[in-house]
Assembly symmetry: C2
Homo-oligomer: 765 residues x 2
C-alpha cells in the first residue's frame, strides 16, 4: 500500500464535503436561580433506553442531545434547534421552569451533593458510574461538551482505497481504511491545540470545584477549564500509542489488564474510534467514524455550537485529510502538552506556535476558496479569514472575547444566566412550529416533534417533498405530508383527487352529494347559465385542492360573473363542475382508519369593519397577525386581494376601497379553505352523531385511511330530516391535521399522536 | 294525485336528457358462405351464466350484446363497438372465420334443422325453450333485434313525484311512479307505428321461412317482416290491458291461468316493464325502467344501431313524456293494427296517418332546438328535420332506402353479405385498440378488453382520468391507468415519483444506483461543471416521468451545452440531479407483487439514414408509421424535433438538415422512454437471473406492487462482477404495460391477464 495514496486532494473536495457529521451535545439543566436542577422530571426520555436523540447522561441533571449524521451543517443545526426546542418544551411544562446552562463548566455547585447518577442504567452500569465517582470525583461528571462525529464519505473512501490496494480482499480493504483513519487521528491530535486556542470557552468555574486527580485549579481564569488538567482526564500513567490500530489496542488493553483502567471505555481522550463494541473488533470490522470530544460549548450559540463552528471544524478536518504529514507518539505527547498549556493560558495570552497554525490555516483558506467556487459564495473564505486574524489577536478568540465581556466570575455567571434566559425565551417561541424545520408544512412539523418525543427515529427522505421515514426498532413507515402512508392506496388518492369520481362513489352509497353537471367545453358550460341562473351554485375544477379556482354564488349573480367564474375554474382543469350550492355550515371531519377524531367548522376568509379603514387596509392589518403565514407554514393563511375576492366583495355591494361599518362582517371568499384565508373553529364535541356516521361511511366507500370529509350541514346539532339537510362536497386524502391541531378557535386535538400510535401500535404497549 | 303533474316540460329537459339508455343487441353468427353458424365455439362466454355483456341467446347461433345503461349516446355506441370488436376477435381466432348477420331476419335457412337451442340453460329453461319451439316454430327464434332500455333520471323522477304527492309514504311514491311509467307505456304503444315507418329495416326473408301461427308471409317484401304478424307474436287471443298496472297484471295472470301462456315471460309485446322478478312484485317494488323491443337492426350501422338512432329515439321518448295525452285499451288496439299494417306495407308505400306523426315530430323538433341551445350545436334539430321530411318521402325511410338499393331478395342477400364482410374488416382492424375507447391509454384499453372477455363488470368512473372500477360478483377493484390499485400505497407512489427518495431507499439496500448530486439552485448546478466535465453524465429533474427534461451526455460536451441542459431540467422541477451516466443497455423490468413478468430493452428515439433525405424529412417519414401515435394511444410515440433532439444531434455532429448515409443510425434522444419516441424490444427470456433478483429486491424496498424498474446493464446475459456493471436508474409506479403488450420487436406478454388474475384471484378457480 502506498501511504501517499491515502492523502486526499482538492479535487476530492466535492465528495469530501459530503462526509457526514453528527453532534452530541451535553447540557446541564439549571433552575431559575442557576442551581443545578435535581428533579427527575425529564427521565421520561430515559425510559426508552435507546431514545435516538435525547438521553440523560452521567447525572440525572445532565441531558444529551444527539443529532443524526448529516453532511450539511444547516441540517445539523436544524436538528440541534429542534432537539433544544423539544427539551425546553419538556423543561417548561405546566408550572415547571428549567433552562440549559450554556457553558461547559457547571454553574454554582450548591446542589452538588444532591445530584444523583442517572437512574436509567442497568446495575452493572450503575456500579461503573460509582467507581468513576470514587476515582475522578463528582464534579467532573458535570462537565458538558460537544462531541463532533465525523465519517469520511464512504463512496470517496471506497474510491480512494481502490486506487491504493490491488487485491480484492475485504480484510485488506478494512486494514487500509483503519490505517487511513489512524493517520487522520494522529494529525488531528497533533494540531488540536489550534482549535483550543480558537474555540475554547470555559474560562471560569465555581471556586469549590475540584478533581480527585489534580485538586482545585491553580488559577481562577484560563481559556478552558474543561480542556485543562482539571477536566475529565485519566491519570498520567495511562499512555496510549497511536502508531497503528494494533499498537493502540495493545496499549489500551495493557492498562485494563493492569487495572489502571476498569474498562476500555474509561479511556478519556479527545478522539475516539467508533465502529464496533470493543476496540479489538475494529481490526475485523473497521473504523466507521471518529468522535472528536475537544469542543467546549459555545455560549454565544443557542445550541452550544454555531453553523460557522460546524463548517469551520469540517474545513479543519478536511485540511488535515489533505496534509501529507505524519506524526510519532513523541510528537503527539508534545501536542498534548501544547494543548494543555493552550487551555490553561490566560484567554488574552498570545498564541505560542503561531507559525504552525498560520500554515495550517492557509491550507484551510484554499479549501474555503474552492468551496466558495463550488457554491457561488464567499462565506467559506471569510470564515477562514476570520480565524487567520485571530492568530495575532487573542482578544478575538472565543475565550478572549468572553473574558473581555466578563472579566470576573460574578459578571460571567450573570452573563451565562442572561444567555440561558434568552435561549429559553427563544426556544419557547412559536411552540406550534418545530424549530429548525419551519420550512416543512405545519402538520409535518408537529408529527416530527411528537415522533422525536416518543423516541422514533426520523429520517428526512426528502423534506422538500414533506417525505420522511419514521423508525422504531425494525419497523419503519414512510410518511408524506404527515398523513400519506402505505395505509392509503394510490387509487383511493386518485378517486378523492377527482371530484366527479368521489361524488359517483358516494352517491352509490346513498350518501347525499350536491347534484351538478360536468363540462369539458367552456362554451357549453357558459351556455348552461339559463339552467342555473336562479339557483345558488358552486363552480369548481374537477381535480383541485385548497379551494383553488372555486367560486360560490349564493346570491343573485349576473351572466358576466358566471362566465368569469367558469373561465377561472377552467384555468385549473380541463373539466369543471357546476353544482347546486347547499346552504349551511361547512364542517371538516378528520378520520383515521374510519374512526372519527376531530371536526371543525370552516368559515371563509373574512374581516370586520371598523368604520375607519378601507377593506384593502383591513386586509393588510389582519395579515400582520403572527398566526397568519404562507403555504401551510402557519396556523392560518394570509388574506389575498385577487379576482375571487373582488367577485365576492361585489356580491356584497363592496369593493376594496369600501369602508365597512364598525363590526360589519365582510366575506372575502365564499369557499372556506384555510389555505385561502378561512378560519377553523373546533366543533368536535358539538356535531350530531348521524353526520359522523355519514363521514365514516364515506371514508369506507372511498377506501381512505387518512381522510378529511367536507360536509355542508344545515344544522349540525340535529340529525338531518330530508335531502338537502346535508351533503358531502368532497373528501381529502391530505386532510391538513393542522386545522385541528391549531384551530382558530376552540380545543386543539393531538392528531399527530393518533397518527403515530396508528403507525406504530407497539408504542402503546 | 294530479295526473298533469306527471307530464314533463321543456324546463326538465337537461335532467331528462340524463336519463339512461341500455342496449341489448341480438345477432346471428354466420359463416363465410352466409349460412347460420353452428359450432359451439363462442359458448365460452355462456359458461359464466351471468356474463354482463355477452350472452348466447335463444339458439346457440345467436349472440346477445348488452351495454350497461349510459346517459350519453356516444358512450352507448362506444360500448357497442367494443362488444362487437371483442365478439369479432373471438369469432376469428386462429383458423376460424365467422361474421354477424346485419339484418333482423336470418339469412339462408339451409342449416335451420341443425340449429340447437343454447346449451347453457338449466333443464327447466331448456324445457320451456322446447315448448316455445313447438308452439311458435324454430324459425322465429332466429329473429334478431335491438332492445332499448330506458330509465327516467331517478333524480328528476323523485323531484316530480315530490311535487305531486303530499304524503311521505314509500308506497304512494311507488304507486305514482308506476302510474307515470304506465301512462308513458300507453303513449309509446300508441305512437310506435311512427318508429316502424321511420326505422324498420327487415323487408325480406328466406322463402322457406314460416311461423306456426301464421304460416308463410303473404307477400315477399314489406317494411319489416320482424314487426309484421310473421314476427315473434303471441296468438291473438292474448289480449292485455294497459289501463293500470293492476289491470295489466290481472290480464296477464288470467292468460297464464287459462294456459294460453305457459309463463308470464311468454308474453311478447313491444314494451316490457322491468324492476322485479314477477310482474306482481312491481306493485311493491315499482317499475324501474322500460324495455322497448320494436327496433329492427339497422344494417347501415356496424353495431346494428347508430348514434343518430340512439339520439332520435331518446328525443322521441322525451317528447312522449312531455305530451299530456292518454289512451284507452281500444286506442292501443287500434295502434297495434296501425303498427302491423305499417310493418306489412310495401317499403315505398305512403304513410297512412301523416298528420299524427307530423304533430308528434313537431314536439320533437322543439326538444331538438332546446338540446342544440344547451349544447351549442345544430345536430339535434337536423336529426328531427330529417325525419320530418321522411313523412312525405317513404323512399327516404330506412326500409324505403334499403328497398331501392336492393329491389330483390338476391341483391338484398348480397348486400347484407357485403356489409357483414365490411363490418368484419372494420372490427378486426387495429386489434391492439379497444374499439370505441381509443381515447383511453393503450394499456387501459387492453385491460378493459380482457376484463370484458373474462366477464367482469367494467364501470367507467372517469375515463378521462383512466379511472375505472372492475366488479366480479360482490368484489370490486378500482384501477387507474391499468395498474394503479389499492395494492399500491400513496407513499410508495410519492417515493417512486421522487428520484432522490428512490435512490436513497435503494442505496440503503445495497442496490447500485448512479452516484450524483442534487441542486436546488441553477447557479450552483452550473458552477458544478468543472467537477463533471470529463465524465459522462445524466441531468434530470428530481420528480419527472417519461424522460421529460432529461439530458444525457455520454460524449464530450461543452459548458454551454451543459448549462442549457441544466436550464432545461429546472423547467420541470425546483430540484435537479446531476448523475454519473452508466454505460450499457437500458432494461425495463415489469414486476407485479414482486414477481417478474416481463422485461424489454429500451432504445432511444432513432432513425436510419437513406443517403437521400434530411433528418428532418426522415422524422416525418417515420412518423407516418401507423404504430406511432400520441400520448400512450399507440404502441409507439411520434418522434419530435425539439431542443433535446437538437442537442443530441449536435453531439453526433449533425443537425436537422444533415443527410445521414444509407444505413447510418442516428439517435434523436439519449433517453430511452417510449413516450419520447424510443422503441422497446422484448428481452424477457434473455435476462440473467441476477438482474431479475435486483429488480425484485428494489420493488420490495419501495413497497411497490405494480412496478417498472429501469436498470442499465453492461451485459445482461451475464451476472455483474463489480460496481458499475449495472445500476437502477429509477422505478415507476405506472409502468406502461403496453411496452410489453406491444413491444416494437419480440414476444408480447399478456400483462393485463396477470393484473386481472391478481386483482380477482377467484377468477382462476
Amino acid at each position: 500500500m502506498n501511504q501517499n495514496k491515502l492523502v486526499f486532494s482538492i479535487k476530492d473536495l466535492a465528495l469530501l464535503w459530503q462526509s457526514t457529521v453528527g453532534i452530541e451535545k451535553e447540557s446541564l439543566r439549571v433552575t431559575e436561580n442557576n442551581q443545578i436542577a435535581l428533579t427527575d422530571h425529564p427521565r421520561d426520555w430515559g425510559d426508552r433506553s435507546f431514545h435516538p436523540y435525547l438521553q440523560t447522561d452521567f447525572s440525572e441533571s445532565q441531558i444529551e442531545l444527539i443529532t443524526p449524521p448529516e453532511s450539511n451543517s444547516k441540517d445539523i443545526l436544524n436538528w440541534l434547534q429542534a432537539l433544544h426546542q423539544i427539551t425546553y418544551l419538556r423543561l417548561n411544562e405546566s408550572d415547571y421552569v428549567e433552562r440549559l446552562w450554556p457553558n461547559s463548566m457547571p454553574p454554582s455547585l450548591d446542589h452538588l451533593n444532591k445530584v444523583r447518577p442517572a437512574q436509567l442504567l442497568n446495575s452493572q452500569e450503575r456500579h461503573y458510574r460509582e467507581y468513576l465517582t470514587d476515582k475522578y470525583g463528582k464534579d467532573v461528571q458535570l462537565l458538558s461538551g460537544i462531541h463532533y462525529n465525523f465519517q469520511i464519505n464512504p463512496q470517496l473512501m471506497e474510491q480512494k482505497l481502490k486506487e491504493s490496494i490491488t487485491t480484492n480482499s475485504e480484510s485488506d480493504y478494512i486494514k487500509s481504511k483503519n490505517e487511513l483513519y489512524m493517520a487522520f487521528m494522529r494529525k488531528y491530535l497533533y494540531y488540536r491545540w489550534g482549535l483550543t486556542y480558537l474555540l475554547a470557552a470555559s474560562p471560569y468555574v465555581d471556586s469549590r470545584y475540584q478533581t480527585k486527580l489534580h485538586g482545585k485549579p491553580h488559577q481562577t481564569v484560563m481559556r478552558s477549564v474543561r480542556q485543562s488538567r482539571y477536566g475529565y482526564k485519566n491519570d498520567d500513567a495511562v499512555t496510549i500509542s497511536y502508531q497503528s490500530l494494533e499498537a493502540y489496542i495493545k496499549s489500551l488493553e495493557s492498562h485494563v489488564k493492569s487495572g489502571r483502567l476498569l474498562l476500555e471505555k474509561e479511556l478519556y481522550r479527545d478522539v475516539r474510534m467508533r465502529g464496533s463494541h470493543s476496540v479489538r473488533d475494529l481490526l475485523k470490522e473497521g473504523i466507521s467514524y471518529l468522535e472528536f470530544r475537544n469542543f467546549d460549548l459555545n455560549p454565544f450559540a443557542p445550541c452550544g455550537i454555531s453553523q460557522e463552528d460546524l463548517d469551520f471544524i469540517k474545513i479543519w478536518i478536511i485540511a488535515l485529510l489533505m496534509i501529507d504529514k505524519d506524526f510519532s507518539d513523541q510528537d503527539l505527547e508534545l501536542a498534548d502538552q501544547r494543548n494543555q498549556s493552550t487551555a490553561e493560558d490566560h484567554p488574552l495570552s498570545n498564541l505560542r506556535h503561531a507559525d504552525l497554525l498560520q500554515s495550517l490555516l492557509e491550507t484551510l483558506s484554499s479549501i474555503g476558496l474552492e468551496l466558495d467556487r463550488l457554491n457561488a459564495t464567499s462565506y467559506y473564505s471569510e470564515l477562514v479569514q476570520d480565524k487567520l486574524i485571530q492568530i495575532n489577536h487573542p482578544e478575538r478568540t472565543r475565550a478572549g472575547f468572553l473574558y473581555n465581556k466578563t472579566p470576573d466570575y460574578t459578571s460571567y455567571q450573570q452573563f451565562m444566566s442572561d444567555i440561558a434566559q434568552l435561549n429559553q425565551k427563544e426556544f419557547l417561541h412559536s411552540p406550534y412550529l418545530l424549530h429548525g424545520f419551519e420550512d416543512l408544512e405545519l402538520s409535518t412539523q408537529d408529527l416530527c416533534k411528537k415522533a422525536i418525543q416518543l423516541g422514533l427515529n426520523v429520517d428526512w427522505i426528502d423534506p422538500k417533498d414533506q417525505l420522511l421515514r419514521l423508525t422504531y426498532q425494525d419497523h419503519h413507515e414512510f410518511v408524506r405530508n404527515a398523513n400519506m402512508t402505505r395505509f392509503d392506496s394510490q387509487v383511493s388518492y386518485f378517486i378523492m383527487d377527482n371530484k366527479l369520481a368521489t361524488k359517483k362513489v358516494l352517491k352509490e352509497q346513498g350518501i347525499f352529494v350536491p347534484e351538478g353537471q360536468i363540462f369539458d367545453q367552456q362554451a357549453q358550460a357558459k351556455a348552461y347559465y339559463p339552467q342555473v341562473k336562479s339557483k345558488p351554485i358552486v363552480i369548481k375544477p374537477k381535480n383541485t385542492n385548497y379551494g383553488i379556482g372555486i367560486t360560490i354564488f349564493n346570491q343573485a349573480y349576473s351572466e358576466a360573473d358566471y362566465r368569469e367564474a367558469i373561465s377561472e375554474a377552467f384555468k385549473y382543469d380541463q373539466e369543471i363542475l357546476v353544482e347546486n350550492y347547499i346552504e349551511g355550515t361547512e364542517i371538516r371531519f378528520y378520520l383515521l382508519n374510519h374512526k372519527f377524531l376531530a371536526a371543525c367548522e370552516r368559515q371563509p376568509a373574512q374581516i370586520y369593519g371598523d368604520g375607519i379603514h378601507t377593506i384593502d387596509e383591513l386586509i393588510d392589518l389582519e395579515n400582520q397577525n403572527p398566526l397568519r403565514g404562507k403555504d401551510h407554514r402557519a396556523p392560518m393563511t394570509l388574506l389575498e386581494k385577487g379576482k375571487l375576492e373582488k367577485i365576492t366583495l361585489k356580491e356584497q355591494g363592496l369593493d376594496f376601497s369600501s369602508i365597512p361599518q364598525s363590526g360589519q362582517k365582510v366575506y372575502l371568499r365564499r369557499n372556506s379553505n384555510v389555505s385561502s384565508g378561512g378560519i377553523a373553529i373546533d366543533r368536535t364535541d358539538a356535531i350530531h352523531q348521524s353526520y359522523i356516521d355519514y363521514a365514516i361511511q364515506a371514508s369506507r366507500a372511498l377506501e381512505a385511511n387518512f381522510c378529511g370529509v367536507d360536509m355542508i350541514i344545515r344544522d349540525y346539532h340535529h340529525q338531518p330530516k330530508q335531502e338537502g339537510d346535508y351533503a358531502i362536497i368532497e373528501a381529502n386524502y391530505n386532510p391538513m391535521a393542522s386545522l385541528h391541531l391549531f384551530p382558530g378557535k376552540g380545543k386543539s386535538h393531538d392528531l399527530s399522536l393518533h397518527t403515530l400510535y396508528f403507525l406504530f401500535p407497539e408504542l402503546k404497549a
